[in-house]
Symmetry: C2
Subunit: 193 residues, 2 copies
Amino acid sequence: MREQLIEAAVDYFHEHGFNGSGIKDITDAAGTPKGSFYNHFDSKEAMAVEVMNRYADSRQMGMLADESVPPVERMRKHFDYLAADLERFDYARGCMFGNFGAELSTQSSVIRDEVDTKLARWASLLAPVLKEARAAGSLKSDMDDPLLARFLVSSWEGVAMLAKVTRSRAPIDDFFAMFDSIATQDRRRTKKR
Amino acid sequence: MREQLIEAAVDYFHEHGFNGSGIKDITDAAGTPKGSFYNHFDSKEAMAVEVMNRYADSRQMGMLADESVPPVERMRKHFDYLAADLERFDYARGCMFGNFGAELSTQSSVIRDEVDTKLARWASLLAPVLKEARAAGSLKSDMDDPLLARFLVSSWEGVAMLAKVTRSRAPIDDFFAMFDSIATQDRRRTKKR
C-alpha cells in the first residue's frame, strides 16, 4: 500500500504541485482509504521527500557514467532522455525538482534542502563528463567544468519551466542550440587501416 | 483599498506562492476586512494577473532601451538590477514569473498565458540589445539573437530558482560567468584627439 501511495503521489505532485495536492487526492488516486496515509507517512512533506527520491531514480543518471559512449554524445543522450520525459506529458509538468524548488523553498526547509542536494548531485555527475569532453578537445566553452555543469543544470531547470509555460518544445530546442554552440561532435574513433 | 490589496498581494504571493496564500492572509497583510477582497477582484486568479503586471513594472525593462549605455554594459546592468532584487530577499523569493509558471501552469491557463506573455516580452526586449552588441563586435556566441535572448531568459529563470533553493548568489555568479564567456566588454568610444 505504501508503494501504491508513492506511485500515486509522484504522479499527482508532478501534475498539481505540492500545495495543489490534498492527501485525499493522493489516497483516492492510489485507491486506498484516506486513513492509510498516516500509517505510512508522518506528513505530506515526508512523503514529498520519498517522491523526490523516486523521481531522482527515474532520471537514469547512470547514463552519465557510461564511458562506452563518447562524452558529448553521452550528455546529449542524457538531455534527450530528459526532454523525452517532458514530452511524455506534453511539456505540461516540467521537472519535479524545479517545481518543488520554486513552490516550496520558503515553505519547507526540508524540501528545499532535498532539492538542493538532488540538483548538486546532478551537477557533480555532469562535471566529469565535461572534463572528459574537454580532454578530448570537444568543448569550446572556457568556463570551468564544475561551473559549466552547474549552469547546465540551472538553465535546464529554466528551460523545463518555460516548456511548461509555453506547452512546447521550443525552449528545449534553445537549450540544445546553446549546447551545440559550446560542445562540438565527439571525434570519431580512428578506424583501423 | 484596491491599491493596498495589490501591494500586499505582490509581497505575499512572492514569498508564499499562489496556493500558499489565502485570501484572508492577503487581506490581513493589507489591513483590510476579508470581505473587501471580492469588492475589488473577481477571484484570486484575477488578482494574480494584476500582481504580475505590478511585478513586471518593477523589472525596469526600460533600462534595456537606454541607448546612451553601450549594449553589453546595458545588459549587465539589467541583470545586475534583477540580481540585486533577488538579494533584497536573501535570494529566498526567486522570480515571480518563474514561481507562478512552475506552480500554476497546469492549474490555470490564464496565469500560464500571462507568464508566457511576460517572458516572451522580456526576450523581445533583449534581442535588439544583443543585435546592437553583435554589430559592435562584442558578442562571441554564434547563436542567433532572438534565440540567445530566449535562452538568457530561461536560464535566468533557472538561476533565480536555484538561488532560492541554495539561498545564495552562487547560481547568479554562474550566470554572469556564462554571460562574460559570450559577451566581451563594449569597446571604449574613441576619444577625441
